[in-house]
């Protein structure tokens, strides 16, 4: 149960970071937080079985999810870096420095 609620807490923290943080890499990390929270919830809930050991299906789902998270993180970071080289900015709010297109 502690894992499940740890996961719920991580998910909420990630939600906060995703909205409140302006730096784009912080947003990618926050999305990772939310993903890890979901994984912890799944693993925690998969352990409710009284006999036969933990349920293998949530574990397989988490393994799938981890790979998708890796893909998301890599794509997110690549786009952030490309955005930075194109505009010199690390967030979506500021205006580009003068002299840029």
């Amino acid at each position: 149960m502690i894992y499940t609620f740890g996961g719920v807490l991580l998910f909420a923290l990630g939600t906060y970071g995703l909205i409140a943080r302006r730096h784009l890499i912080h947003k990618v990390i926050s999305a990772n937080f939310m993903g890890s929270g979901v994984f912890l919830i799944l693993i925690g809930l998969g352990n409710r079985t009284p006999e036969n050991g933990p349920d293998p299906v949530p574990q397989a789902m988490v393994l799938t999810g981890i790979v998708v998270t890796v893909a998301l993180t890599a794509l997110g970071l690549a786009i952030v870096k490309r955005y930075y080289t194109a505009t010199g900015l690390t967030n979506l709010d500021d205006e580009p420095p003068a002299g840029d297109a």
């Binding site: 909420a12 923290l13 909205i19 409140a20 302006r22 809930l45 349920d55 080289t85």
Partner: protein
């Protein structure tokens, strides 16, 4: 620009607390114990010849998930590669940076990591391990070789690597579609060749996942050298 940023900090806290309440309530609403699927899965795994239940779930009972997951990984790799990074720029940055210790250590470690990756795939059918773990080790070996200057980053964009990237997904799709020729359903492996088919997919997937991780890392590391810095 600063004032609005300060004013909206209360909103994310509310959103986060709201999320906390909704998810916690959903989790609490579930019964404290559940039957789970462990028993069915263990019985099913016995009939497939795959002793590791998680591997059996991944590649057999829920093979569709894994197929789409590989497609997602592939799409992300294609997207990152299409940001058109410049591999030569990273080569120039890395060149000559690795000292003799790092160079010889990574030359010693790389073959061992390749063997570990092969071992992980092989034991994946009976114990913890499998294509994803093996692929991760393989990708890490490639990243180590590139960062220590032993392999050229430009290698990551070559035609051969693109074929290795796609071969896992192509083989998986082929094996998934094959039963349909004989009137079966998608991913309905024939019983007599189930174990060898799964092992075949896993080996090719390991190569593809390794190449994906290497390409994702290289292309992400390169993305900041691709455009013109203002």
């Amino acid at each position: 620009m600063r004032d609005p940023a300060r004013r909206i900090t209360i909103l994310p806290i509310l959103a986060s607390l709201g999320m906390l309440a909704i998810v916690a309530r959903a989790v609490l609403a579930l019964p404290p114990t559940a039957a789970g699927l462990a028993e069915e899965m263990q019985a099913g795994a016995k009939s497939t010849g795959i002793k590791n239940v998680v591997t059996a779930v991944l590649l057999d009972f829920r093979g569709y998930d894994t197929l789409l997951e590989i497609a997602v990984l592939m799409l992300a790799t294609v997207a990152v590669l299409s940001l058109r990074a410049d591999p030569a720029a990273l080569s120039r940055r890395i060149a000559g940076r690795a000292g003799p210790v790092l160079g010889s250590l990574s030359r010693t470690l790389a073959p061992i990591m390749i063997i570990v990756a092969g071992h992980l795939v092989w034991v994946g059918s009976s114990e913890p391990g499998g294509a994803f773990q093996g692929g991760a080790v393989l990708g890490a070996a490639g990243i180590l070789l590139v960062l220590s200057g032993y392999a050229q980053p430009a290698w990551a964009g070559q035609q051969v690597v693109r074929w290795v990237l796609t071969v896992g997904l192509l083989a998986f799709i082929g094996v998934a579609l094959y039963p349909m020729l004989e009137g079966g359903a998608l991913l309905e492996y024939p019983d007599e060749s189930r174990k060898s088919l799964i092992l075949f997919i896993e080996i090719l997937l390991t190569l593809s996942i390794g190449a994906s991780i290497l390409s994702l890392f290289m292309a992400s590391a390169l993305a900041d050298t691709g455009g013109e810095r203002p």
